[in-house]
């Protein structure tokens, strides 16, 4: 479904990605693990067209999408939930969700999608008229995910959805992501919280210094001593 080959990205003189390759298959949840500065966020930004590639290619359903502007990529169904949620704190929950539907011109279709998001995330329905900034951290994350869902993703890219959330809330967010993938949407999940991510993912990649250094089925990765040492900690 999505294939990144030998991706290279520079920020000024700093190299963020030096030849990263990975694949996401139809309907699959893939975890992207790694330390700060490894290049996880950059990978998502590159797919979304938010940063320019210095090399490599991005193929989506067999077609190269490298160099396309972000709106075209969203229209293809590659939707990004940015790090730190980035919801609009002074707009209401409903208005926030409307941003996700910005490219949906058919009013009925938009209403149907909004209804589905409210069904999936009932807390948002309760808080429909409330300003985004008054929500709790977990609710804000749900809102960010809901906003992306309104765009009708075929591949949902999530950047650190567990950031700054209490363990119980992290579990709830992961549950929602699991539900989304169960409905057939592919998920590319960037996480520091490797344990939570590997629980819901089928496969995973470990990124170090802008390259994939390890890849494999989630169960194998959680058992790999190198992963345990670096990201899970000894139990």
């Amino acid at each position: 479904m999505l294939e990144l080959t030998d991706l290279k990205v520079n920020y000024g003189g700093v190299t963020a990605l030096r030849g990263l390759s990975l694949t996401v298959r139809e309907g699959e949840t893939v975890a992207l693990l790694g330390n700060n500065g490894a290049g996880k966020t950059t990978t998502l930004s590159a797919i979304s067209g938010l940063v320019r590639l210095a090399g490599g290619d991005i193929k989506y359903q067999g077609e190269s999408v490298a160099g396309e502007p972000p709106p075209a990529i969203v229209a293809r169904g590659l939707v990004h939930v940015p790090e730190g949620r980035r919801i609009f704190s002074t707009l209401t929950v409903h208005e926030n969700l409307l941003l996700g539907g910005y490219l949906v011109r058919d009013g009925k279709e938009l209403a149907r999608r909004l209804e589905r998001v409210y069904e999936l995330l009932p807390r948002l329905a309760e808080r429909r008229g409330q300003e985004g900034g008054t929500l709790s951290g977990g609710e804000q994350q749900m809102l960010a995910i809901g906003r992306a869902l309104v765009a009708g993703p075929k591949l949902l890219m999530l950047d650190e959805p567990s950031m700054g959330l209490a363990p119980l809330v992290v579990a709830a967010v992961m549950e929602v992501i699991h539900d989304i993938s169960a409905e057939g949407t592919a998920v590319l999940l960037v996480e520091q919280n490797a344990r939570a991510a590997l629980e819901i993912a089928q496969r995973g990649y470990v990124i170090e210094n802008g390259r994939c250094t390890l890849e494999g089925p989630a169960a194998e990765l959680s058992a790999d001593p190198r992963v345990v040492e670096a990201y899970l900690g000894k139990v």
Binding site: P82, F88, T90, L91, T92, L99, G129, A148, A151
Partner: protein, 331 residues
């Protein structure tokens, strides 16, 4: 920041907010404008009121750029000047009727919007403000130095809105009032459209908007061009009112005053900006009795107002949040 405790204090919609929610208030304001000449119709009063109406148009135009889209423009007088000069030149040098210059003004100001916006809209916040400030000055200095624009003495003998003879000030006032009322209504509509929604997304978080598929550069350009057209059309009214224009009317002070009207009234709020514009344009006249002290008092009043009511006289959100909050229980 202050909005949160402020809201917590308020238990429900007060009389004021309920009044602010009233949809017929715009018509009431128009009625006040229509009745005003029956109360006082001295040439001086008509002149002041007409200027206020034109100023409303400018403020509503800048509100599209600053209020809706969040782009700080410190050179808005540039578009005002482009509109006034385009119209004035065509009317005097080529003897076009003033109304016939309107399409040309729209094209010229939209073009000016593209020329100024093209390079500047890639910049953000502070940088954008500085560059627009520069462009505002460039336009004024060009007008000051070109022969065709009449140099420092400008253009004179511009015909009235409906013909060569300057019309009765009361007639002109009514014409301006109706035109501006339509322009205000259109701007408010635009703010509530799909484009208006995109402007708000860009204002709140450009990156998030971009990530969700909003073409931010095009959206910002649209705001800039819309603002430019509003400013340019205000320029036509201005040229028609004074029948003479010169670079001295399009200084940075003018840009700053329009911005002040937008901020004072409440960024992004149409009724707020209309009130802000009326206050900014009438206050110095009301304070005229204070002679030399009037701009001092004007400044002090502005400072006091911003301390007491930093969100503006009539902020954008008060209406929507009050209503949606009241409704969320039922739905």
């Amino acid at each position: 920041m202050t909005a949160v405790p402020d809201r917590a204090k308020r238990p429900g919609p007060t009389i004021v907010t309920r009044l602010m929610e009233n949809r017929h208030l715009g018509w009431a304001a128009l009625a006040v404008g229509l009745v005003a000449p029956f109360v006082i119709a001295t040439p001086y009063a008509m002149n002041i009121m007409t200027s206020a109406v034109i100023f409303v148009m400018l403020a509503v135009g800048l509100n599209i750029v600053v209020g809706y889209c969040g782009l700080l423009d410190l050179g808005f007088a540039a578009f005002f000047a482009v509109g006034a000069y385009t119209s004035g030149l065509l009317a005097t040098r080529l003897s076009w009727p003033l109304l016939a210059t309107v399409p040309a003004v729209i094209i010229a100001t939209a073009l000016a919007g593209v020329i100024i916006g093209g390079p500047t809209l890639r910049l953000r916040s502070d940088y954008l403000a500085i560059v627009t400030l520069g462009f505002g000055e460039i336009v004024r200095i060009i007008a000051n130095n070109l022969e065709v624009t009449g140099g420092p003495s400008g253009i004179y003998g511009i015909p009235g809105l409906f013909g060569a003879e300057a019309a009765d000030p009361v007639v002109f006032y009514y014409a301006a009032l109706v035109i501006v009322a339509v322009a205000v209504l259109l701007a408010a509509r635009l703010g509530r459209s799909r484009l208006g929604r995109a402007w708000r997304f860009v204002r709140e978080d450009e990156d998030a908007a971009e990530a969700m598929g909003v073409h931010t550069y095009r959206i910002k350009m649209a705001a800039y061009i819309a603002g430019a057209i509003w400013g340019g059309l205000a320029g036509v009214l201005f040229a028609a009112q004074l029948s003479a224009i010169s670079p001295a009317s399009f200084t940075f002070l003018q840009s700053a005053l329009v911005l002040m009207a937008v901020v004072l009234g409440g960024m992004g709020s149409t009724p707020g900006v209309v009130i802000g514009a009326v206050v900014i344009s009438l206050l110095p006249e009301i304070l005229r009795d204070l002679a030399d002290y009037r701009f001092f008092v004007f400044g002090v009043l502005l400072i006091v107002m911003m301390i007491v009511r930093p969100q503006g006289l009539w902020p954008h959100r008060s209406r929507e949040t009050a209503r949606t909050a009241a409704r969320s229980g039922e739905s």
